[in-house]
């Protein structure tokens, strides 16, 4: 049986966890590998923790979800707490040690489905301010990547094979743009898994964001720079 690489990503809603999981799986598929991606989805909510499961292999892939991840990437303090089951003795654990403000929505909330509300943008300076205030009055607010919050408590990190902390959000915020935070993480995953060449992700980004890149070539540079930065962070740490 071919080895199946199991990757679990978890983050605040809006951090872009599902987008990079999808890009990763599509890039693997384009490379001729078998890939399976499934989001952990529920009723729509703003600001809760979102988990993505990706598996990549040269052979067949079994069940869509798994318990122990080979690479586990929780991107907020409560994503760390939420994913302890996925951490095992063979897990490489990559977390973001920047200080971001989490959303107010409870993790296990069973709420209404928000069809009528524009989702807030956590990368904005004040993410909830551009929303219709009467609609969101009294509602829990989204996370913010620009406001500082409490960071990951090292005591929450489970026993694993290897722990790597990267300040991806701070790098995105201070050196690039908060929006490419997830692309830094994507670069980090490529370095940590070594299942795909970095170029395969660049191609996948071209496919996914091609039109936006053509309209604004700076966007391409920023995304590729973020990708390489994430890649180097892990190569330097490992």
């Amino acid at each position: 049986m071919s080895k199946v690489i199991k990757i679990a990503l978890a983050g605040e809603g809006g951090q872009g966890v599902q987008s990079i999981a999808e890009i990763l799986a599509e890039a693997a598929n384009e490379e001729g590998k078998n890939a399976l991606y499934i989001p952990n989805f529920g009723v729509e909510q703003r600001g809760g923790v979102s988990i993505a499961y990706v598996q990549i292999s040269d052979g067949p892939i079994g069940a869509p979800k798994f318990i122990k991840a080979d690479i586990l990437i929780p991107l907020s303090p409560r994503a760390v707490k939420r994913t302890t089951d996925h951490a095992g003795p063979d897990t490489v654990y990559i977390y973001d040690n920047s200080l971001i403000q989490e959303g107010e929505v409870n993790d296990n909330i069973v709420g209404m489905q928000y069809f009528d509300v524009t989702p807030p943008c956590p990368t904005a300076d004040h993410p909830n301010q551009d929303l219709p205030q009467d609609l969101i009055a009294g509602e829990p607010k989204t996370c913010s990547f620009t406001t500082e919050g409490k960071g990951v408590d090292p005591a929450d990190i489970p026993e694993v094979k290897r722990v790597i902390a990267i300040p991806a959000n701070d790098i995105a915020k201070n050196e690039l743009h908060p929006r490419v935070f997830n692309v830094i993480i994507l670069g980090a995953i490529i370095a940590a898994t070594k299942v795909l060449p970095l170029d395969s992700i660049k191609n996948a980004l071209e496919v996914k964001l091609g039109e936006k890149f053509t309209a604004n070539p700076k966007l391409r540079d920023m995304n590729f720079k973020a990708l390489e930065r994430g890649y180097e962070l892990i190569m330097g740490a490992m």
Partner: protein, 358 residues
Amino acid sequence: MAEVSLKGEQRVFMTGNEVIAWAAVAAKAEIMYGYPITPQNEIMHYWTRLAPKYGKKFLQTEDEISAGFTTLGGVFTGTKAFTATSGPGNVLMQESAGMAEMMRLPVVYIIQQRGGPSTATVIYGQQETTLTCFGGNGEGYRIVYSPATHQDLFDYTIKAFNMAWTYRFPTFVLGDGYQAKMREPLTIYDPEEKGIKLVKPEPIVADLGQPQRKTKHLRNCLNTEDELYEILKGHQADYDALSSKIVEWDAQDCEDADLVIVSHGVVSRAALGAYKKLRAEGKKIGYFRPITVRPFPQEQLKQATKGAKRLFVAESAYGQLLKIVQNNLYGSTLEIVPMLRPGVGITSEEIYDEISKL
């Protein structure tokens, strides 16, 4: 990525809901009737996106009762029609499915199971197995396929239309929320290019294009007990006759197995992984998966478990497959070890651990 088309064989990477929409196009379905419910919404979304390009139609109805009956109406006129739903929507569609059993209408339902009972979760479950096989106030004259991979979703959706129009029983593809939302590769194709004959639909009540048309009187309401009994004897005989012809299953390494794992749908992927790992350790484990859960591959399961000491039944429901298995193995003294997780996913690791503990 190249544009997706049905010309030649094409490897694609998409969600299960998208696969269903493409399969319905490949099967030459003409219209979808539907009402939105998670996790099957994207079947409607993709179908309506493909509709203008392929000359297809779509009608959104006011609820699932209506979606089921409009699909029946489409079929009356000789139109290849289908609908898709989940959970509480599946409950509402049983009324139309019962009528399809009674009138022998070739209707195709796609079910993406969510958690139950009632609204429960929008995520995943296998708790609509009993409902899909035996729902309605009748005998469960249905054909139910339980796919496990995206390739299955594509292949069996095409097959569902063929079976429905051949045998004139309502036919279901029993998927689930995981299959609906996950992405994995599969090969899509034009079935006719591969030599798969697509059964042509024909008007069921009357051919409106024929001036001298004869109309059929399809009855759903009968005057006497005897009339009903006569009709049902006919349905039962037809259903019994098709069962041995259309049952499908997958059995691996059951001949010398001490323990056989039985599961269906997406759980059988986990079972397959666990069985392979246990076999690699030298344990005598077999794998059995009914692909048609109704009619059920009874003889094949009996054969597969002949030499076994134990049966391990894993499902994301509290005993729905288990009951079907017990019913089909009546008289057997095999010990059955159940692993029942209603509305919750099951991983290879969990099945492996449970069996290793035995």
